[in-house]
């Protein structure tokens, strides 16, 4: 029984890595195709020429109705070009029951469309990459800032340490949502100006900075604790007695002993950052539409679904991908932490 549970745990880890690798690969490979579909200027063409794929899920009537309304929009656009014949054909096709089914089959994609007629699949693929990027950027920022902050505080010690840790306390006391909102409102426009009007890029970069800027605090505390405990260890004392300078001790003793811990916490920052982005999207202050993120799509889905219309696919697929991604990352981080703890007993760990 024991053995089986451990085996299962191992398999979960393999599966997590596999799923993450597959998702990253698929979304990266499909990026040249999918990126067209979330550009605002391409929205018209996305509606006009949705990707034609055979659906794997039986469509319900709502979907057919959605398609119909989507088609009606197109018809209006085309009628502006005086293409009246198409409009009449469309209307006729859409009004007959057999026409509806035919029609639904022809233009539907794998995961359905959202209320603007955009293919969910083509939004989910770049969304995964963007969310993963947000997580990765937050992890990198947390590692760089948090590690240097905590290590410097612990190494210098005394007054400096006190002041630096007090700053971390103060930043903990600030509600992070407020910080993100203020950072976004203050910095998005100037940065877009710097980047030559690339407001969408500026938007994502600000979100990277904002989420990364609040996720380094835990890392700083953990690293400081670890460095403080390492400083008192016998081998550091011995190195010092033997005449090793501070730089030598840092390079030879502190860095190797810190990498495991940092890797563990950096892995755990990624899912947290993705979740935080999803909350921000739910509040309407995440990455601006139409750039998709996993959390943004899930939040859109939650708001689109109510008890009267069953746009279930809008919530099931984004939430599925989001949860699987975060679960896989969490399992991975957990496994890393356990193996790290097993190798180095002592030094209290946060959970």
């Amino acid at each position: 029984m024991h053995q089986l549970a451990r085996r299962l745990g191992q398999w979960i880890i393999y599966c997590s890595v596999g799923i993450l690798a597959i998702l990253v690969m698929v979304s990266a490979v499909s990026l040249p195709f999918s990126i067209r579909w979330f550009n605002a200027q391409d929205l018209d063409s996305a509606i006009r020429h949705p990707p034609v794929l055979k659906p794997i899920i039986p469509w319900n009537t709502y979907h057919a109705a959605l398609e119909k309304s989507g088609r009606a929009i197109i018809s209006n656009r085309e009628s502006a070009k005086h293409d009246i014949a198409t409009v009449e054909n469309d209307t006729r096709a859409a009004s007959t029951p057999s026409g509806v089914t035919n029609f639904a089959y022809q233009v539907s994609s794998w995961l359905g469309h959202d209320d603007l007629g955009r293919s969910l699949l083509y939004r989910l693929l770049p969304a995964f990459l963007i969310s993963f990027g947000i997580g990765g950027a937050a992890a990198i920022m947390a590692t760089v800032i948090g590690t240097s902050w905590g290590a410097v505080a612990a190494l210098i010690g005394g007054r400096v340490d006190q002041v630096m840790m007090r700053i971390v306390d103060v930043l903990y006391g600030l509600p992070y949502i407020l910080m993100v909102i203020l950072l976004k409102t203050a910095l998005t426009r100037p940065l877009a100006g710097l980047l030559g009007g690339a407001s969408r890029l500026a938007d994502i970069i600000i979100l990277f900075v904002a989420i990364g800027g609040v996720s380094w605090l835990t890392m700083a505390r953990v690293v400081r604790g670890q460095v403080l405990s390492l400083k008192t260890r016998a081998f550091v004392e011995a190195a010092r007695v033997a005449g090793g300078g501070t730089l030598y001790i840092i390079r030879r003793h502190l860095v190797p002993n810190l990498t495991g811990l940092i890797a563990v916490y950096a892995t755990l920052v990624v899912p947290q950052a993705i979740l935080q982005e999803s909350f921000l999207s739910f509040l309407g202050i995440g990455v601006a539409q139409p750039t998709p993120t996993l959390g943004g799509l899930a939040a859109d889905g939650v708001q689109a679904v109510n008890s009267f219309v069953g746009y279930w696919w809008l919530i099931v697929f984004p939430c599925g991908v989001l949860s699987v991604t975060i679960l896989a990352l969490q399992f991975l981080g957990d496994a890393l932490r356990q193996s790290y703890e097993r190798r180095s007993r002592g030094g209290s760990m946060l959970v």
């Binding site: 549970a5 407020l178 909102i181």
Partner: protein, 306 residues
């Protein structure tokens, strides 16, 4: 010990002050005019009069005025809710948030501690693995999805609870449950980690060798030190839960404080932003001090450190 606690109190007040100062800096440096956020454009004269009335052109004066007012329990006007002042907003929203958040923390403790202890006692077995997976799942799904799902099942399908709103006891369980899930998951994991470390220590082995039953060894001998990490997590967690969660409030229509955090910042309402941040950081500091006190009570050795 009293001196240590007094020291903590002083440090807490300094922390609150710096939080306030930092927030103030952010509030005055972001673009946007709080006075022109209404539906109708304000005439220049009225805006100038308001600005001079609240000393908004002189940041130092405004800084000192707000702080002075806050010390007299007067948080000043809110520009985005002209019919209310900040005191009234906080007083109407904070009790709601404290009720929901306090209940959520209690639920998380009542369920999380036993779950953590059981999975530590059965480390590596199926019970442990399933509890761990369940808590990981709780952390992995965004709260708004869980909330919407619970709402759909219990309110729309089963009619056990009202769909949203506030005022009766029936409105309580769903938001409390949704809010408590992430805390529950965290407490379970902290409790499990602490318990595993505690169960591996020498005095537990001695106790078992002396013939103490495993139940007593776990709940009486190992529990206290194992609970310490949970306790230190409880301080920030309680403050966070009690100042409300925007997401839970939005999903269930609870009139709590969380919405004001977000709306005040989005509306550039300086008074309300500063008020909510002050309330949050004061609660945070207060709970951390209470936790410190409980800490020294659970583990008297800490007194020397304090």
């Amino acid at each position: 010990m009293t001196r240590g606690l007094l020291g903590r109190f002083g440090a807490g007040i300094i922390t609150v002050f710096f939080v306030y100062a930092l927030t103030f800096l952010m509030v005055v440096s972001i673009p946007g005019n709080p006075l022109q956020g209404g539906e109708r454009k304000m005439s220049r004269e009225v805006e100038a009069a308001l600005r001079s009335r609240y000393h908004m052109d002189d940041n130092w004066r405004y800084f000192a005025d707000f702080l002075g007012g806050a010390l007299h329990a007067d948080l000043g006007p809110s520009f985005s809710y002209p019919d209310w002042n900040c005191n009234q907003i906080i007083l109407s929203a904070l009790p709601v948030s404290m009720l929901v958040g306090g209940l959520a923390i209690i639920v998380a403790l009542m369920l999380g501690v036993p779950l953590g202890v059981v999975s530590a006692a059965r480390q590596g077995e199926w019970t442990d693995a399933s509890f761990l997976s369940a808590t990981l799942t709780c952390i992995s799904i965004p709260t708004f999805v869980i909330g919407a799902f619970l709402l759909y099942i219990f309110a729309v399908r089963l009619h056990w609870a009202p769909i949203g709103g506030w005022g009766t006891l029936a409105h309580l369980p769903l938001p409390v449950l949704t809010l408590s899930l992430p805390f529950l998951a965290y407490i379970t994991r902290l409790m499990r980690a602490g318990m595993i470390e505690s169960l591996g220590s020498d005095y537990i082995r001695t106790a078992i060798a002396k013939g103490v039953s495993p139940r007593v060894a776990i709940w009486k001998h190992a529990f206290k030190p194992a609970f310490l990490p949970v306790l230190s997590y409880l301080g920030p967690a309680t403050a966070q839960a009690m100042t409300g969660s925007f997401v839970v409030e939005k999903v269930f229509g609870v009139p709590g404080l969380g919405q004001h955090f977000v709306n005040a910042a989005l509306n550039r309402d300086p008074g309300l932003v500063l008020s909510t941040v002050l309330v949050f950081s004061a609660l945070l500091v207060a709970f951390n001090i209470v936790i410190d006190f409980l800490y020294t009570w659970l583990d008297p050795r800490i007194i020397e450190a304090v």
